[in-house]
Amino acid sequence: MFMAIANSNTLNLERVLTTLKSPAGITISASIIAAVLGAIDNGFYVIVNAIVTGGMWALVAMGLALVFGVMNVVSFVHGEFFMIGGLTAYFTFTPFSDYLMGNPNPLFEAVLPILAMVASVAAGVVVGILCELIVFRPLRNRTREQWVMNSFVITLGLSTFIVNSSQFILGTDFRGIVSYWNYPTLSFFDVYVSFDRFFVFILAMLILSAFWLFMRSSKFGRAIRAVSQDETGARMVGININGIQTLTLALSSALAALAGACLLFMYPAYPTVGLGPLYNSWFIVILAGMGNVAGAAVGAFIVALLQVLTTVYFGEGWEYTVPAACIILVLIIRPSGIFGSEVRGILNQ
C-alpha cells in the first residue's frame, strides 16, 4: 500500500479514500484515534511513549521482517543479536566512561555513546556474516526442502548456543549503564523524556529513513527486495543470491545490534535479554504482514501503542495477553497481516 502511495505522483482524492478504506488505512486511522482518545483520557504521555517506544521496536522488527522476507528464515535468534549489540556497546562505553570520570572532556563525552553504537553495529555485521557462512549456507547448499522448518529449528539451536555461551564466558551479570549522556531531561506538556530516549528516537527515525532510501533506490537494496519477491527471477538477472543472503543477515543483525546498543540504558545486557525484543518483534512482524519490511516499521508503532494502552487500562503484566488477543482478532479478519505479506512461495511449507 505504501508503495502505491509512493508511486503515485498525483495524490488524488479517490486514491486517498481507497487507501483509507483498505485494511491498512482502517487500522492506522483506528490506531491514531485510539492514541488521541487515550491521550485525552490519560495525558499526552500515551502518544509520546507509543512513538518513542515504537521507534525503538521498529529497528528490531525490520531486521526480523527482512530475514523472513529474503531468507525465508523464521528467526528465533534475532534477540541474541540484540544482546550482542548491548554487550559490545557496554564493553566499549564503560571503560572510556570510567576514564572520563577522572578526566572530563565534554566533546568526548558527547561522542562516546555514538562510538559505542558504531562498534555494536560492526559486531552485528560480523556475527550476521558468521551465522550465514557457518550455519545457513551449508544448510542451503545441502537441501532446500522443508527449508522453513529446518532453518527455524536451526535458529533455535543458534539461540540456545549463543545465550549459553555468553553466560558461560561472561557470566550472568547484568551489564547496564545509568545513561549514555548526562544531559537534563527534556520536558513538554508535562511529559518527560530523557535525552537518551530522545536521541535514540531521532536516531531510529534517521536509520529508518536511510534504510528506506537504501531499499528503494540503491542497487543492492533493490536486489534484496528482488530476492524476497522472486528468488529465481533474481538469479536470472544475475544477482548473486548467496551474496544477497549474507548482506541481508548482516544488515538485519546490525539493526538488532544497534537497537541493543541504543537501549542499553533500559535493557542491560545479560544472557537472556533477547527474549523480550524477539517476542515483541514477532508480534509486530506478524501483525504487519510476514516479511513486509515497511509494514514492520509502521506495525512497531501500532504494537507499541497497544502495549501502552494495555498498561494504562489493564495494568502491568498484560502486555502479552491483551495485544495477543487483539492480534488474534486482526489475523482472523486478515490472516496475511494488516499490510499484507510480500513473501511468496514458501508459505505452504
Partner: protein, 239 residues
C-alpha cells in the same frame, strides 16, 4: 554452419533430484541464429533451458558458451556471461514497478549510459511498457507481463536470449505482438533460442529447429524442412 558457435550442448543429461528428464541431448546455436526447440508438454523443454541458464544443475554432459564450459556455473554467473533466460513463469518482481523491474534486468551492467540506452530500446520495442512504467508488475495483464519479462531479459545486453513459451496463455493478438518483437530482435542480430508448443507459428518464424520428445532430441534441421516432415506434420500440425 560456418558461423561461430555461440552455444553448444553435448550429451546433456538433466533433471530434478532422482527424476531424470533429459537424456543425451545435443544442440547448438550459432551467433545471430534464431533457433527453436519444440515438442509436446512435458518433453523437457523447460528443463533444457533451465539447465542452460544454470537454474537446474546438469547430471552429465557439456554446455559450452562462447567456448567456455558453463555447465557447473550458478545462474547469476551465467547471466553475467551474457545469457538471458525468460522463463515460462516470467519470475517478475511483483512488488516493483515496471521501471524497477527493467533496472533489475540491468543489474549486471555498471555503465549508466548503457542502461538508459537499453531501456530506450525496450520502450521502443514495447511502447505499452513506457506508458505503464510506474505500475507495479504484479498488477499487470498477462501480455504486458510477458513483454516486461522479455524487456527485462534484454536489459543486460545479452548475446543469447533463451525464451520459454512466450505464447503460453496469451490472446492471439498479444501472441502476435510478442512474436513481432522477437522478430525485431532477430533483425537486430540478437541470437535467440525459442522454446514453444505452438509448432506451426514457431517453425514459420525461426531458421532452424529441434524436436524434443520424452527428453530426447528426435529431429533436427532447418525450420522449412521440419515443417514438411512427416512426423512433425502428424504429431504437431494435425495433418
Amino acid at each position: 554452419m560456418e558461423n561461430q558457435l555461440l552455444l553448444q550442448v553435448e550429451n546433456l543429461d538433466s533433471g530434478y533430484g532422482f527424476l531424470q528428464v533429459l537424456w543425451n541431448v545435443s544442440l547448438s546455436v550459432a551467433k545471430g541464429e534464431y533457433v527453436c526447440l519444440v515438442g509436446p508438454n512435458g518433453a523437457g523443454k523447460s528443463t533444457f533451458l533451465k539447465s542452460v541458464a544454470g537454474l537446474v544443475s546438469p547430471m552429465a554432459g557439456r554446455i559450452d558458451f562462447s567456448g567456455n564450459s558453463i555447465s557447473r556455473l550458478p545462474g547469476d554467473k551465467i547471466c553475467r556471461m551474457g545469457i538471458s533466460y525468460i522463463s515460462e513463469e516470467l519470475n517478475l518482481f511483483a512488488g516493483m514497478t515496471v521501471q524497477e523491474n527493467l533496472a533489475m534486468g540491468a543489474f549486471t551492467i555498471n555503465d549508466k549510459r548503457k542502461i538508459v540506452e537499453n531501456q530506450d530500446f525496450v520502450f521502443e520495442l514495447f511502447p505499452a511498457l513506457k506508458e505503464r512504467r510506474r505500475q507495479l508488475a504484479g498488477t499487470m495483464s498477462g501480455g504486458e507481463r510477458k513483454m516486461l519479462a522479455i524487456g527485462r531479459g534484454l536489459m543486460s545486453t545479452p548475446s543469447l536470449l533463451l525464451v520459454d513459451e512466450p505464447s503460453l496463455g496469451l490472446a492471439p493478438q498479444t501472441t502476435a505482438a510478442v512474436f513481432r518483437a522477437l522478430d525485431t530482435l532477430k533483425q537486430k542480430e540478437v541470437t535467440i533460442l525459442l522454446v514453444e508448443q505452438n509448432v506451426t507459428k514457431t517453425l514459420q518464424v525461426t531458421e532452424r529447429g529441434y524436436v524434443l520428445e520424452k527428453g530426447k532430441i528426435v529431429l533436427a534441421g532447418a525450420s522449412t524442412d521440419l515443417i514438411q516432415n512427416e512426423h512433425v506434420r502428424k504429431a504437431y500440425l494435425g495433418i
